[in-house]
Every structure is written in C-alpha cells, then in structure tokens.
Amino acid sequence: MSDKDLTQNQPLIRVENLCKAYQLEGHANQPICHQVLFDINLEIHSGEFIAIMGQSGSGKSTLMNILGCLDTPTSGNYWLAGRNVAYLSNDELAHVRNHSIGFVFQGFNLLKRMTALDNVATPLLYAGMNRKESRKHALTLLQQTGLGQFTLHYPNQLSGGQQQRVAISRALVNQPQLILADEPTGNLDSQTSHEIMTLFKQLNENQGISIILVTHEDDIASYANRLIRLKDGRIIQDKNKCTR
C-alpha cells in the first residue's frame, strides 16, 4: 500500500469544494434539503496538529466524519494521502479506517463487552493479526499510556479519563498517520482533559502523527498549532499560531 510513504510535498489531506447536505422528510412528502457544509477547501500536511472550533451545529462533526471516511460528501473532492476517497471501494475504505486513521470520540465508544486489552487489540484483529500477537501489542501500548494495571477491566469499570486513554490507545494501535478526535475532552474534567491533551501533544511531537481535534474550549484548542473556525458550515478562520 502506498498509504504510508508520502511524498514530501503532497498534503496528507486535500479537500476541494466539499459540500454536505442532508435530505430530510418534510411536509406532504416534500423532501427538504438541509445543507450543513458549504464549499470547504482545506489542505492539511503530515505532522500538523489542528483544532477545529465553532458553535454547536456548525458542522464540525460532519466534517470530521467525512475526513474519517465514515461519511461521504454530497459534492466536492477529498484526497487522503493522494487518493481520491470517492473512488475507493467499501473494503478499501475499511482498510483506510483500519490502517491510516485513528478515531477518538467524545463518548469514548469502547466495545462494552470487551476488556480494555481486547478493545485495543481489535483493530489489529481486523488487520489480520492473530489474537495472541495482537494482545501482546495492545499490552505494550496500554503500558505506555499508563494503563498497565487496567488491562483486564471492562469499560464500565474504568473512569472517563481511563476510558479515553484506552480509546486513544486503540486509535494508535495500527500506527495511523492521522488521528481524528471529536471533542475528546468533552466528557472529562479539566485536570484529566489536560492530561489527555498532553498525551496528544506528545504523540504529535514525538511520533509525527497528524491530529485533528474538535473542541469548544480555547485552552484545549491552544495545544494545537493551527486553528480552523467553522460557522454555519463555512470556514471563517484558518490560522497558524505559535505553540505556547
């Protein structure tokens, strides 16, 4: 796969005139078209740490889902690592989600019936590794994230911060180029939020993983190097800033 060997000048993500509209059932069977994203143009390079901000309902999650190949745009083009995702088959998209992208959600989204260890190991299973090998990898990763003693806990036996660390470990386990985090600190207290953000910062700086993060809080956004602001489905601000 050519996913991981990027040429230096090629952006990791290139989005052109991307639009997203939802068809809603209106009165008298007249479908209502509800447009959520308007003409989004974006270039993101490998190793960037980006925060997306904006009011509730401005389309941040919608954009993240499209960037993560979980959703498809209504029009416009999206190249991920040089490949136009519109031309990828379902299996290729699954492969991209498995190998190139790591998701971190606000609600953690761990598999409830599995231990922390198996949650982290699952993406490796989908990548074709056997269970024993995958658990070994997952254990190493959990130990690195400081969860070495919680490997056999089920999600409901972990605190919010611990669950989010498990989710981040799961996102990292296949060594993706890109981590998409939709309000990863939304359900956490500020102390834990900052711990999680420090973890992201380290991943970005030490391992060069690109991170796109959605947040409502300025101090969380300040960990990022670039800030994109959305309003009513349009990018109204896109600026680089110095790290604090």
Binding site: D71, H95, F103, R113, Y126, A127
Partner: protein
C-alpha cells in the same frame, strides 16, 4: 480478521446473552431431535415390515376359491368352495410355478395334560414349509407318507408350543386336537406378526388329508380353503398368474363368457405396496418433524434481527476501527450458524437417546443411520445460513456514520 478469531468473537457474543441464545437454540434442539426421532422410528417400522415380508416367503401367489362376481350376483372370494387338492397338484406342474401348497384351516381345541389352548389348525402339504419360508426349530416337518396315509402328526408354531407345553420340549410328545391324539414331530421357528398384524406363530400344522378327514368336517369333501403358490422367480409372477388362471378355467370347465370361480392374488405385489407405504410414511414423519426445524430457523432469524438492532452502535464502532463488510457479515452469520450447529448437535444426541429409549420400551426396531444425522445437520446448516444471512447482511450494510449515531 481470520476465521478462528471471528468464531471466538461470535462465541463471546452468544455467551453474553446466555438465556436468549439457549432459548433460540431450543428451537433447533427440538427440531433436530424430532427429525432424528421420527426418521429413526419410521425407518425402524419400515425394517420391521420388510422383515415380515422376507419371512413370508418370496414371489407368492394366493389362490382363493370363489368368484368375485357370478351372473350379476356377487360373492366375496372364498365364499364358495371350488378349489381342490387336485388343482394344487396340477398348478405345481406348471412351468412358471415352483411349488403349490393347498391349505384348509379351522379353529380347534388343543389339550396336553392339564393345559388347553384354542388355535388355528392348518392342514397342508410338506411343500407349505418351503413356500411359506418356515424354518424348523426342533424335530422335523411331516412327510409325503404322512400325507398319503393321513397320519395324526403335527408341527407346532412357537407360541402354541409354549402355551401348551410350557418349558417342555414338545417333540415326540402326544397331545390332543379335538380330543384326537396327535404326535408332535417338530416345532417351527418364530416369525412374529404378519403384515395384517396376526400372530403367525400361534398355529398347528397337520397333513392336509388328516385335517380334511378327521378334524375339520367339510360340506364339500376334497375342497380346500386356499392355496399358496410360489412362482419360479420374481419376473415370472405375471406369467404364473396367467397360467394358473388358464389352467383353473380349463379344469373347472368355465366357458369363455363366464367369470372365474376363483381369485388369484399376487402377495408379493401387495407386500411391495406395504413396503413402499412404510417408506413414504417414514419420510412423511421426517418431513412433518422438519417443520419444527423451519420454525426454529425463523426463531433464529428473529433473534438475529433483534441482536443486529441492539448492537447497531457496536457495529458502527467496529466499522470505525476497520471492520470490513465481510468481517461483520461473517461475524453475524457465524453467530446464527453456531446456534444452529450447537442446537443441532444437542438435538441429534437427544433424538438418538429418545429413539433408543423408545426401542427399549416398546420393543420395536429403531434405526439410526449416519446418513440420517448427516441429513439433519445439512438441513440445520442450510437453515442457519438461510435465516442468518438476511440479518447479517443487514448489519454489514449499515453506513458507518448512521450506525455510530444510532441510540
């Protein structure tokens, strides 16, 4: 994801909902147990019938006196005594006929010491034993000489011998038929029930002449009750039937426009019909039982659909971390299949167990063949795939965002 891992995941998912899995499986267990049980009982009955047919003797014709109709007046066959021992002798000479045994019969009282027993007395010739496929257990059959001189000798059926003599060996002993002393020369090996359900082992066989002259008073002297004829081979049966008809019409001087005063029946053909009927019955029982398998299959589909709906979010998460369409499909399909196969296994064991128990209780042969179990299993697997596919495909075709957003 490799198959072994998916099997593990499916097993895990089934274990979480133990009660639900168990109840769904129960449908399969009952279905498979019913199919296995019904097929084994059906095949057992079939084998029993085939054994009876085999014991009856092969390629048999039954010749009964009496016309089926006569000049507008209809009689049942056997109502008029028109057959004689001479007819039997003549028939035995026919090229397509191996042997012919004339038979007269009636009920009489038997006595031995303090024991008495009432049963059918059959007067016949020594040929009867070979034609009817009778085997001797002890002693011997009576001879042509006994027949010629109307000796008072008897061969006893197994049940009669037991009832009259208890544990004693009857051979060589003297007992009384209708107060006349008879010498027991042999005892027949047991045969069991006939196709019509009559106990064939409760009988006494004596020479035809002895029966005609000394035991069964007869209004038409020399006439016989019926005749058992054995054809030369299975494919000569129709020929034999025709030759017998032609010969008897000639002997009885029946003009061309008159109807027969006798009836010829192909017993082997009747037996073949009985055998086929038993076979059809066996399959029908199995088919009826398999309806419960079908119902069980629908139960599986129902539960799998509920499971897919319940786990929509889980499916979304799995897709987000890289599960392909095929991985999700296989996972849910395997869950359905595992319910089927585990249920099928338990059901097969249960079916075999109860078939064995029934065979012990009612003393009936019960047949359990590997092919039968194989058939039930193939059926179960097909049901699992058929009813599991729709829910599994539904799960695998979910859109990742929608599945993730599902509450």
């Amino acid at each position: 994801m490799n198959l072994l891992t998916i099997i593990g995941e499916a097993f895990q998912a089934l274990r979480v909902n133990r009660l639900r899995t168990g109840l769904t499986m129960l449908g399969m267990i009952i279905g498979v147990a019913a199919v296995v049980l019904m097929l084994s009982i059906g095949q057992g009955a079939q084998i029993q019938i085939n054994n009876t047919i085999a014991s009856m003797g092969s390629h048999l014709l039954l010749v009964l006196p009496g016309a089926t109709s006569s000049g507008g007046l209809r009689f049942g066959s056997g109502t008029v005594k028109t057959l004689t021992a001479g007819d039997a002798q003549a028939i035995a000479e026919l090229p397509s006929v191996e042997a012919a045994a004339p038979v007269v019969s009636g009920i009489a009282q038997l006595n031995y010491g303090a024991n008495n027993w009432s049963t059918t007395i059959t007067g016949t010739t020594p040929d009867y034993f070979s034609v009817g496929n009778w085997l001797i257990e002890s002693g011997s059959i009576f001879s042509e000489a006994d027949l010629r001189s109307a000796t008072r000798v008897a061969v006893l059926g197994k049940v009669t011998a037991e009832n009259l003599f208890g544990n004693e060996d009857p051979t060589g002993k003297t007992f009384r038929i209708a107060n006349k002393p008879f010498l027991v020369v042999g005892v027949l090996a047991a045969k069991g029930q006939s196709l019509s359900g009559r106990d064939q082992d409760d009988n006494v066989l004596i020479p035809l002449t002895t029966a005609q002259r000394q035991i069964l008073g007869n209004q038409f002297p020399g006439s016989i009750g019926h005749m058992l004829v054995q054809g030369k081979s299975a494919d000569m049966m129709e020929e034999a039937e025709m030759e017998i008809t032609r010969l008897l019409r000639q002997r009885h001087r029946i003009s061309d426009r008159m109807e027969n005063d006798f009836t010829v029946r192909n017993l082997t053909a009747i037996a073949a019909v009985a055998s086929t009927t038993a076979k059809v019955m066996a399959w029908m029982l199995g088919a009826i039982a398999s309806i419960s398998l079908l119902v069980g299959g629908i139960g599986i589909m129902n539960i799998m659909l509920v499971s897919v709906t319940e786990r929509t979010r889980e499916i979304g998460i799995r897709m987000a971390i890289g599960a392909s369409h095929r991985a999700i499909l296989t996972q849910f399909l395997l869950e359905a299949l595992m319910i089927c196969i585990l249920g099928g296994l338990t059901g097969a064991v249960l079916g075999i167990g109860s078939a064995w128990m029934i065979s012990q209780i009612v003393d009936m042969p019960v047949v359990i063949t590997l092919s039968m179990i194989g058939l039930a299993f193939a059926f179960v697997a097909i049901i699992g795939i058929f009813f599991g596919f729709y829910p599994a495909n539904k799960a695998a075709s979910l859109k990742p965002v929608e599945a993730l957003r599902y509450e």
